[in-house]
């Protein structure tokens, strides 16, 4: 490594003077043509060989270096008449307004100028900018009518976009503007915010235009042999052509009008050369009608140089394709298509221990899977195995060579899904090479990536150095990310069927024959033998689901908690719970209770998985997850688990009672409105009468929906698959179910009943001023029965608000995230526990003030005292 002991002290931005332009120029460009008939670049043309070279093999006419060594040289064009630089029109305008039209001094009294001078030099000495002061000076000087220095009467100068200045009735030509700027003294320029040492005001009006080297605007040769020039070259051709015509016309003494027109045209071309997106200027177009991409467009915006090429760029050793699920691979693994594995490579240094193996890779070559694409000799020479005699290369391969072999099983890769919002958006996986064309991932890692399989694509990166690979393995592997630093609980865990399956397995009365039990254990990928059967009946042996589940719990695990299905009875019956919601695990045996979301669901408050990660380590947790998810899926398949709309069927009598409740509510609303109309309504404290009425109505209707739901719930028991999903926390909620079975309820926009649309009513079907339940968006129907047309319309109103909210939220939170990351990206926790930025400034004296990593803490505390006491006392 070479270290350069130079430090950038400061960067100064200034303007190029016409002399500077000529000084850096290697040639003056005079012809607008690029190549002659033989395809050779024309001297003093836009492709002049002195401007640098793009084609490999040639040497630069100016510096003699080859393509790599020569970054090109500037040329220049002498403009026949000066033109204004679009980028500086604002500054030019300020300069013109603030200075006298005759003597060029700032139109302020001598004393005032001296005062400002003092302030500016003070600010400059303190290293601060004085833009605000310069603005103030311009503002006060612009309104002066008579120059205090020479007594000349001043005229108002108007600025017309894009580059025209009008004084009174006369248009100022760029030459006039330049003359005036020349008259500004160095001291005055300083007061206007211009440092005259690096930028004289008149340099903002161009007389010589630099021509960038060809390396900046390379021409492309198409397959047909046709040369296609860069947009910048096209623009420069325009400028030179018009410039030439202008010069000729001036020479020939053409009428004033023609010269003005050509001058104007030259100004247009120079504007669009700098930027093609000025308001008031039609964008310059290619012959095909495509808008040209000129200088400013190259830098600006998402695909510009900064955001597109410097902040983010395309990388090697990466792959992207659609993802699909595979419950049979470990959470640590990622399925990689063989085609991808053949293209991505890992460099392996040959040693005496692995030469033979590497020779085999080389012999198999780039087309057979565990092969190699390239080898690099000890001297650093590359041999591409596609075109070489592989047998020969295998022979010369010896320790010291590097082989770029194909990606293979157990290699470590980084896997990523955008938007990368938290650190779990990029995790390290072990490779499993598979047939097919998609990346395969275990379902448990969907939550951290926020992935689903409706066409999502993900990226894969192969770390190349041993150090990077080891670091990825130790710090970034999926199993190391099970606990989220966001809330200290698992972000990787069971989802959907994993929960229902475990519930079906462990609920009361689930018995399995030997054959069934063994099938389940085999599906889970375990080779343990069954414990003693819990039940013997008529010579048959039966195992409970709890026994089977316990086989996957680590020994010595003790836990007591209430499951998700717990109904929070007033008096908890503990182990005698009617619905088996009281979970007791002793020494790794599930004695009571069912396994549901509370045990191991991702992104939930989960007891079992949390305990295993914290007490038994990530290896045990990974194995537990891999096994139990496969077991649960096998159980769900064995029982058969499905849901359909008839899961929300309720008997007719229930429907009648629900209708009664809703009708009652409607009547009550009517009564409330009556009371309100009679003026007898008691207002709630701090509310107007109208607000009180709305609140009371909302209350009544919400309660009626809840009661309708309760009635429906009575007929929806745990024998119902949809209910199982909702109660165990696998998917959906009881609210979803009652909305399907009983009543959808009140629709709202901004937390209020629907009220907008027509004058005093939502739809013309109602009377103006109708405040009744139906007129303001209460939906009596259930989703199952179907919504009436008006209800459907109201439902769409409420639904739209949700959509708008999500759209707005993502945009806002995305921008907030960007700002936060920019502010926090360099912070780190030092070995002394302090949080510091990249300059060593202390941000926090103790990380989080308690030095606790939430992902490694128990309930946010460094030690869980209760747990320890329980363990010591032996209560658990």
């Amino acid at each position: 490594m070479t270290y350069i002991n130079k430090l950038v002290d400061r960067v100064e931005f200034g303007l190029l003077s016409p002399d500077d332009v000529r000084k850096i120029s290697v040639t003056r460009i005079v012809t607008a043509d690029t190549y002659d008939e033989d395809g050779y670049p024309i001297e003093r043309g836009l492709m002049d060989p002195r401007l640098g070279i793009v084609d490999p093999g040639l040497r630069c006419r100016t510096c003699g270096a080859r393509t790599r060594g020569c970054s090109g040289h500037f040329g220049h064009v002498e403009l026949a008449r000066p033109v204004i630089h679009v980028g500086y029109v604002d500054v030019i305008y300020d300069c013109l307004r603030a200075t006298c039209r005759k003597c060029g001094r700032i139109c302020l009294s001598e004393q005032k100028l001296e005062g400002y001078c003092k302030q500016v030099s003070e600010m400059a000495a303190a290293g601060r900018g004085w833009w605000a002061l310069a603005d103030e000076i311009v503002k006060s000087a612009a309104t002066v009518e008579k120059c205090p220095s020479c007594g000349e009467k001043q005229q108002k100068i108007k600025f017309e976009k894009p580059t025209t200045f009008v004084e009174g009735k006369n248009r100022l030509t760029p030459s006039d503007v330049r003359e005036r700027l020349e008259r500004i003294t160095n001291e005055d320029a300083q007061l206007l915010g211009i440092n005259p040492k690096i930028a004289r005001p008149e340099w903002m009006v161009l007389t010589a235009l630099p021509v960038p080297p060809v390396t900046v605007r390379p021409s492309i040769t198409l397959e047909s042999g046709v040369r296609s020039e860069d947009d910048l070259t096209h623009k420069l051709v325009d400028i030179i052509r018009i410039n030439q015509r202008l010069a000729e016309n001036i020479e020939a003494g053409a009428p004033h009008l023609i010269i003005e027109d050509l001058w104007e045209l030259l100004q247009y071309h120079v504007i669009t050369y700098f930027t093609n997106e000025v308001s008031g200027v039609p964008p310059a177009r290619h012959r095909s009608g495509r808008v040209l991409r000129t200088l400013a467009q190259r830098l600006k915006g998402k695909e510009g140089r900064f955001r597109g090429n410097l902040s983010g760029k395309r990388v090697d050793f990466s792959a992207r394709t659609v993802i699909s699920p595979d419950p049979c691979i470990s959470i640590n693994e990622v399925g990689v298509p063989e085609y991808v594995a053949r293209t991505l490579t890992v460099p392996v240094r040959a040693t005496s221990h692995n030469v033979e193996e590497l020779r085999d890779f080389v012999r198999r070559g780039p087309d057979v899977h565990p092969g190699a694409n390239c080898i690099i000799s000890s001297e650093g020479k590359r041999f591409d195995l596609r075109y070489a005699d592989r047998e020969e290369l295998a022979k010369v391969l010896e320790p010291g060579f590097t082989v770029e072999r194909h990606l293979m099983d157990d290699d470590i890769v980084l896997f990523n899904r955008q938007p990368s919002l938290h650190r779990m958006s990029i995790m390290a996986h072990e490779v499993r090479v598979m047939p097919g064309r998609t990346f395969r991932l275990n379902l448990c890692v969907c939550p951290p990536y926020n992935a689903d399989f409706d066409g999502d694509e993900m990226n894969l990166h192969v770390p190349q150095s041993e150090e990077a690979q080891v670091e990825a393995r130790i710090l970034m592997k999926v199993q190391e990310q099970i606990l989220s630093p966001r809330f200290g609980g698992p972000i990787i865990g069971g989802i959907q069927e994993h929960i229902t399956g475990a519930f079906l397995l462990t609920r009361k009365g689930a018995l399995f024959t030997r054959e069934q039990a063994q099938q389940l254990i085999a599906a889970a990928g375990s080779v343990k033998s069954l414990p003693k059967p819990a039940v013997r009946e008529a010579g048959e042996e039966y195992w409970t689901g709890k026994q089977i589940f316990s086989m996957f719990l680590p020994e010595g695990l003790n836990l007591t908690y209430k499951a998700k299905i717990c109904e929070n009875c007033a008096r908890c019956k503990g182990e005698e719970c009617d619905i088996d919601a009281y979970v007791v695990i002793r020494d790794g045996q599930l004695l009571h209770g069912v396994i549901d979301a509370r045990a191991y669901k991702a992104l939930d408050w989960c007891e079992v998985l949390d305990r295993i990660v914290k007490d038994y380590g990530t290896d045990a947790a990974r194995e537990f997850l891999d096994r139990v998810t496969r077991l649960s899926i096998a159980v769900a398949t064995m029982f058969g688990f499905t849901t359909s709309i008839d899961d929300e069927d309720i008997p007719d009598e229930a429907k009648e009672r629900i209708a009664e409740v809703l009708d009652g509510a409607s009547d009550e609303v009517k009564k409330l409105i009556d009371v309100y109309n009679r003026g007898e309504l008691e207002p709630l404290p701090g509310r107007s009468l109208r607000e009180t009425l709305e609140m009371r109505i909302m209350e009544v209707l919400a309660e009626s929906r809840d009661r309708a739901g309760e009635i429906a719930e009575k007929y929806l028991g745990l024998d119902n698959n949809a209910v199982i999903m909702a109660r165990t926390g696998a998917r959906g909620s009881m609210l979803n179910l009652t909305q399907m079975a009983a009543c959808v309820g009140q629709q709202s926009v901004r937390g209020e009943r629907l009220s907008r649309g027509y004058k005093g009513r939502t739809l013309p079907h109602f009377e103006s001023g109708d405040l009744g339940a139906e007129a303001r968006g209460f939906v009596h129907s259930s989703y199952k029965r179907g919504l009436k047309p008006l209800e459907f319309f109201f439902h769409a109103m409420g639904g739209r608000e949700g959509l708008v909210d999500t759209a707005v939220r993502t945009a806002q939170s995305g921008y907030m995230q960007r700002r936060l990351i920019n502010a926090l990206q360099d912070l780190r926790v030092g070995y002394d526990g302090t949080v510091r930025d990249d300059r060593g400034m202390i941000i926090q004296f103790v990380y989080g003030e308690d030095q606790v990593d939430p992902a490694r803490s128990d309930n946010g505390k460094a030690v869980n005292v209760e747990k320890i006491i329980k363990r010591v006392v032996g209560a658990e």
Binding site: D832, T834, R836, R839, G840, M841, I842, I843, Q844, F845, V846, G848, E849, D850, V852, G860
Partner: protein, 79 residues
């Protein structure tokens, strides 16, 4: 108007000026130059109230939702 002593406000944590000796210890403990500490202006109401001068270091003891009590230090600068 009665002059309010900001130090008595519930939201203002305890500020105290460190004696030069302790200030040195703090700098050595964290291995920092004074300017690497968070800063506080001498014109800050609390700094004025306790009479802190530029160049001194303040110890601030706050209630913390995570740790119960947390100590921080600030370097007094002009302004």
């Amino acid at each position: 108007m009665v002059e309010l002593d900001v130090r008595r406000h519930v939201l203002v944590p305890k500020h105290e000026i460190l004696p030069a000796e302790q200030a040195k210890e703090v700098l050595e403990k964290y291995r920092v130059t004074p300017h690497q500490l968070p800063l506080i202006k001498a014109s800050d109401p609390v700094a004025k109230a306790i009479g802190a001068k530029p160049g001194q270091i303040l110890r601030i003891t706050r209630d913390s939702p995570t740790a119960g009590r947390a100590t921080a230090y600030r370097y007094v600068v002009e302004g």
